[in-house]
């Protein structure tokens, strides 16, 4: 009797399962056409607010975190969308990850700040039409008491002193590294090299050297909690200044220059990059007087000084600044 019922259930349950699977597949396929929940904005925004699969192609870029976390992209995004008539999708990641998105063809352009990695990206054929559009500087911050005594040294001297003091007394002197292949992490490696140390040795030299593997903001919060030294870009530092308890200690040095570049993905190498014309318009737009002026004014009201400097008008005059044609000649 018992087994009889089980057999009957078995016979009936198979068609039920198959029906349900089919229903599920159909429903999944129909989902984009499902009624959209009411949004509070106007009708055209309602359509774009909840699509599952986009009807129109979207222009995707991957940008470095400092430009995103400081709110610059939030500010610029609607202007480009309006001007170019596209949806601009901005994904943020460290330079290393952003370039990987580019190699895989998941974005149409990258905005990054790591000259060496960019050169390789272009040499490998993934990127074309590199242009620069903004710059600022790095700085070394740390506890106001400055236990390693680095104030106003050069970046490389300061790193050497932090290394020596950290090796001697790791409880008192610590250094937090991004450790995430970001542009800032690459800059840190360059400074260790300039200080006459091998990065691989520094990395494993002791408990004073902390690899956080996080974005700039979280690393600054960590440095503040632990009283550590840290290499940071000035824009993120200013944006976090009121939230963290670390003081700027070294602010001058040739190595501190930080240039932001935009690179388009090469459709000949990466077959899935289909938005090259939009990418070109985007590059030229970033170099336009209009945007350069907006960058010059961004953050002044809130922080008393701009977070990023425009390149327009030759404002960048130090060694290592981009050449004139790198920020003036429009992409064809």
């Amino acid at each position: 009797m018992k087994t009889l019922l089980i057999n009957r259930i078995r016979r009936i349950s198979i068609p039920i399962v198959i029906t349900c699977l089919l229903l599920g597949a159909i429903l999944a396929g129909c989902a984009p056409a499902a009624p959209q929940p009411a949004a509070t904005e106007n009708a055209s925004d309602q359509v774009t607010a909840f699509p599952i699969i986009p009807g129109t192609p979207r222009f995707k870029i991957a940008t470095t975190t400092s430009l995103y976390d400081t709110g610059l992209w939030n500010y610029l995004e609607p202007m480009f969308e309006k001007k170019a008539g596209v949806k601009l999708d901005i994904v943020y990641a460290g330079t290393g990850v952003a370039l990987e998105y580019g190699r895989r063809g998941d974005v149409d352009a990258v905005v990054v700040h790591d000259p060496a990695a960019e050169a390789k990206f272009i040499a490998d054929g993934y990127g074309i039409n590199k242009r620069s559009f903004a710059f600022n500087h790095f700085l070394i911050a740390g506890p106001a008491a400055d236990p390693a005594g680095i104030k106003d040294l050069t970046p490389e001297q300061a790193f050497k002193k932090i290394y020596d003091a950290g090796m001697l007394d790791p409880d008192k002197v610590k250094f937090i590294s991004r450790g995430d292949n970001s542009g800032t992490h690459s800059k840190e490696k360059l400074i260790w090299q300039a200080a006459g140390l091998k990065y691989e040795d520094v990395q494993k030299s002791g408990p004073w050297y902390i690899e956080a593997g996080k974005g700039m903001g979280p690393c600054l919060l960590m440095a503040s909690e632990q009283g550590s030294y840290i290499l940071a870009d000035i824009s993120t530092f200013l944006a976090f200044k009121s939230k963290v308890n670390v003081a700027p200690l070294v602010e001058k040095g040739d190595l501190f220059l930080n240039v932001y570049d935009v690179i388009e993905i090469n459709p000949e190498k990466v077959k899935t990059a289909k938005m090259l014309p939009t990418a070109k318009a985007f590059t030229n737009w970033l170099m336009s007087d209009e945007v350069q002026d907006l960058i010059a004014g961004y953050g002044v009201a809130e922080y008393g000084r701009p977070l990023f400097n425009p390149l327009k008008g030759g404002g960048c005059a130090e060694a290592g600044c981009p050449k004139l044609e790198d920020y003036t000649v429009p992409v064809q």
Binding site: L5, I9, V17, T65, N74, V91, F240
Partner: protein, 229 residues
């Protein structure tokens, strides 16, 4: 500690003022996770029933494997789906990466083992007595199945609420597959992650409170519906 109080106040403010962006993000969270749970349920409840009603070799092993995958880390799901749907992956032609659909795929995969395994558990909980009762009262097969499913409804809905909770609260897959694009793939958890990264801890916490609020509303509605039917 002050932050927690300020976050509560800000959460209430955001809800009362119906802040456009927060409302959109919340609705998007609800929409994506509800889609995930519906799709996953359509697969998992039947599969769970199928496994439960059939005796076959290795049934125990299958159930053990399913239960092992309860602890599937969200970032691993995110990474695997990323490799499949990235434009240079095998499903790249569908251009799903950094879309809401990508998040749904990730969440469905994430909650499937839990939904399947716990459906089996829910049916097991009622099966024996009901089967006997149905048989002794001379019920047909369809009626017996209906009776079993009906008796298991509280447990199954509990499973669905749990799955919804896991979907709406996960951040790893949503961040990796959706990309946290403003106005498109930003959901509550990825917004919280971003605001924490930006250092706005109070806003992060306020968004967290809103997320809990949504979960509460969903679970209350489900329970009211259950009481009624």
């Amino acid at each position: 500690m002050q932050e927690i109080w300020r976050a509560l106040v800000q959460a209430v403010n955001l809800i009362i003022s119906l802040d456009t962006e927060v409302v959109q993000i919340s609705l998007r969270s609800l929409y994506i996770s509800a889609s995930s749970i519906i799709i996953a349920a359509l697969f998992c409840v039947p599969i769970g029933s199928l496994i439960h009603f059939h005796d076959f070799r290795g049934k125990r092993v299958v159930i053990n494997v399913i239960q092992t995958f309860y602890s599937l880390p969200t970032v691993v799901v995110g990474l695997l789906v990323f490799l499949f749907i990235s434009r240079s992956g095998p499903l790249g032609g569908l251009e799903l990466l950094f879309t809401p659909a990508a998040i749904i795929i990730g969440q469905v995969i994430l909650i499937m083992p839990m939904l399947t395994g716990m459906t089996i558990g829910a049916l097991r909980g009622v099966d024996k007595t009901i089967r006997d009762t149905a048989l002794s009262s001379g019920a047909g097969t369809a009626q017996a199945i209906r009776a079993i499913l009906f008796e298991a409804r509280f447990a199954v809905v509990g499973v669905l609420i749990l799955g919804f909770g896991r979907a709406i609260s996960e951040v790893g897959a949503a961040l990796m597959l959706g990309g946290n694009i403003r106005g498109y793939t930003r959901v509550l958890t990825t917004a919280i992650s971003l605001e924490t990264q930006r250092g706005d801890l109070v806003l992060s916490l306020a968004l967290g409170i809103i997320l809990i609020g949504i979960a509460m509303v969903v679970s209350v509605i489900m329970n009211i519906l259950l009481q009624r039917y």
